[in-house]
């Protein structure tokens, strides 16, 4: 109950401040202190967004970006679970994963862009590679931390019931480390989202599709500032939806319900 109350309070506070910001924005835009091309009014932004939705353009680009990030995210999640499981099963592999993570984790995806372009070109494959790079290392780090934090009692109880090594990992270690997996997913998502938008801006469109990053970048060329803000609005919206309705909802239905956090 208190949980619901506090989340309702949070939404109220947010709505309040958003309203204030929007009003301030509109006053600034209407005051004429800045040219319209730099500081468009809310109505212009809404119209740009509406036009773009009607023409289908922004939906197309958003869909393109979302499909890419989901693909990359799923690949990374599975690969991270696989690599972490191998690492806890085998000393040699553990050393390898540890070293790879230490090297690759501090490397921002964008820093790898030139290299990735040389290796994989400027197509969707390169974007997937950047997303995977952004997600997989924090995922592995978190999963490994989670594995190490598991109470030995769970594993011993499992061994006592006759579980083999594979089932110990699948049935015990992975669910037991879910809080860590979740925080790895959050970090990974944020990183991947940034890397994706940046990469799309640099790669441009393949045919008509270039993603949200490309959409925003393109509006600059046309000096369509309201259109740029429309793109930013969609990015913020997706960010909030993913955090509040995907991650938070998943957390609510799993680790919170189980009293694990």
């Amino acid at each position: 109950m208190t949980n619901k109350d506090s989340s309702r309070n949070k939404i109220k506070t947010r709505l309040f401040w958003i309203t204030i910001i929007l009003i301030t924005w509109e006053i600034m835009a209407k005051s004429g202190a800045f040219p319209e091309a730099i500081f468009p009014s809310l109505l212009d932004i809404a119209r740009a967004l509406g036009d773009s939705v009607v023409s289908g353009e922004i939906l197309l680009q958003t869909g393109f970006s979302l499909v890419l990030i989901l693909e990359g995210f799923l690949i990374s999640l599975l690969a991270a679970i696989l690599m972490s499981s191998l690492a806890v099963s085998n000393k040699v592999f553990n050393g390898l994963v540890d070293t790879l993570t230490a090297i690759a984790h501090p490397l921002p995806g964008i820093a790898l862009l030139p290299l990735i372009i040389i290796w994989f070109g400027t197509g969707t494959l390169s974007i997937i590679v950047i997303i995977v790079h952004s997600v997989i290392w924090p995922m592995i780090l978190n999963i490994m931390t989670g594995f190490r934090a598991i109470s030995p009692v769970y594993k011993e109880a499992g061994l006592n019931f006759g579980l083999n090594h594979f089932r110990i990992i699948k049935d015990i270690m992975i669910p037991a480390s879910l809080p860590y997996v979740l925080s790895g997913m959050r970090i990974g998502w944020a990183r991947a989202w940034r890397a994706l938008i940046s990469a799309e801006m640099i790669f441009g469109a393949v045919g008509l599709k270039g993603g949200l990053g490309w959409y925003i970048f393109k509006q600059r060329v046309f000096m369509d500032t309201p259109g740029m803000f429309a793109g930013l609005f969609v990015i913020v919206l997706i960010g909030i939806i993913v955090e509040d309705y995907v991650f938070a909802a998943f957390e609510e239905r799993t680790v919170k319900k189980w009293g694990m956090i």
Partner: protein, 269 residues
């Protein structure tokens, strides 16, 4: 007194030995020294008995129980169950830990109890396994809490659920490591009674580790008293008080006093 006990020990002579320890040694290596926690331990555990392992904390009770469970490597000695060397944990010896958090928190109570059945493909269907699990939850008086998650249970209820989960696979031996040690006194008594009921109804052999003399006397058929240092098992005392037992029943004071005298409680002065 000593003579009485000798006679009483004969009562156990013809009982079948389920687990036999001979010269079992277990050391822990630290940077400075080797800690010889168990040094040449000999012990027989009889089928169907409740054997209490009693000793001050740090004397090696958990280490001994984990050896019997098969969790840890040992330096030397032989540990046989029904004539076969114990080398790894098995479903015929199930451990119940001291830690209240031994149920899997991501499973409900019934899912926890069903899980070992699924792993070992016991029932013919999920429904059959569910039926078995419900029976054991009833046995431990936890009916109505099937769909609770472990974090919603009290410590005593968690230990009851752990007992149900341990019993589903019909183990020959239950290994219990101070399972009621952190409970309040009343809950502890009620769980002791529950354990005795479970023991009567299942006939399972129980090795019960405790540092509480009263608990050992109330529960056990025999008490293995361990001492500090590398003393190992000082003495195994038969405990033939009539059941049901309560504190203060005829003969209680004698056996309590005898065990007390073996525990070196004042030796640290």
């Amino acid at each position: 007194m000593g003579n009485d006990l000798k006679d009483e020990e004969d009562n156990f002579r013809d009982r079948a030995v389920t687990i036999r320890l001979r010269s079992v040694s277990k050391y822990y290596q630290s940077s400075q020294a080797t800690l010889r926690v168990l040094d040449n331990i000999d012990l027989d555990i009889y089928q169907g008995e409740i054997l209490a392992i009693l000793g001050p904390s740090g004397c090696g009770k958990t280490t001994l129980l984990r050896q019997i469970a098969g969790f840890d490597h040992r330096e030397s000695g032989s540990l046989l169950m029904d004539g076969q060397e114990i080398v790894k944990p098995e479903v015929k010896r199930i451990m119940i830990f001291q830690d209240f958090n031994q149920l899997f928190p991501w499973k409900t109570v019934i899912q926890n109890v069903v899980y070992p059945l699924q792993v070992n493909s016991i029932g013919e269907s999920d429904a059959a396994n569910n039926e078995i699990a419900l029976q054991y939850l009833k046995l431990v008086e936890l009916s109505g809490f099937e769909d609770s998650y472990p974090h919603q249970l009290s410590g005593g209820m968690k230990q009851k659920a752990a007992m149900a989960r341990a019993l589903t696979l019909k183990p020959k031996v239950l290994l219990m490591d101070e399972p009621f040690g952190s409970l309040d006194a009343l809950t502890r008594i009620s769980l002791q009674n529950l354990l005795l009921k479970v023991w009567r109804e299942t006939g399972v052999t129980i090795v019960f580790v405790t540092h509480d003399i009263q608990e050992a006397v109330i529960l056990s058929d025999r008490i293995a008293v361990m001492g500090r240092g590398t003393v190992g098992i000082k003495k195994v005392i038969p405990n033939l008080l009539d059941r049901p037992r309560v504190v203060g029943v005829a003969g209680y004071a004698e056996i309590y006093g005898y065990v007390y005298s073996l525990m070196d409680i004042n030796s640290e002065r």
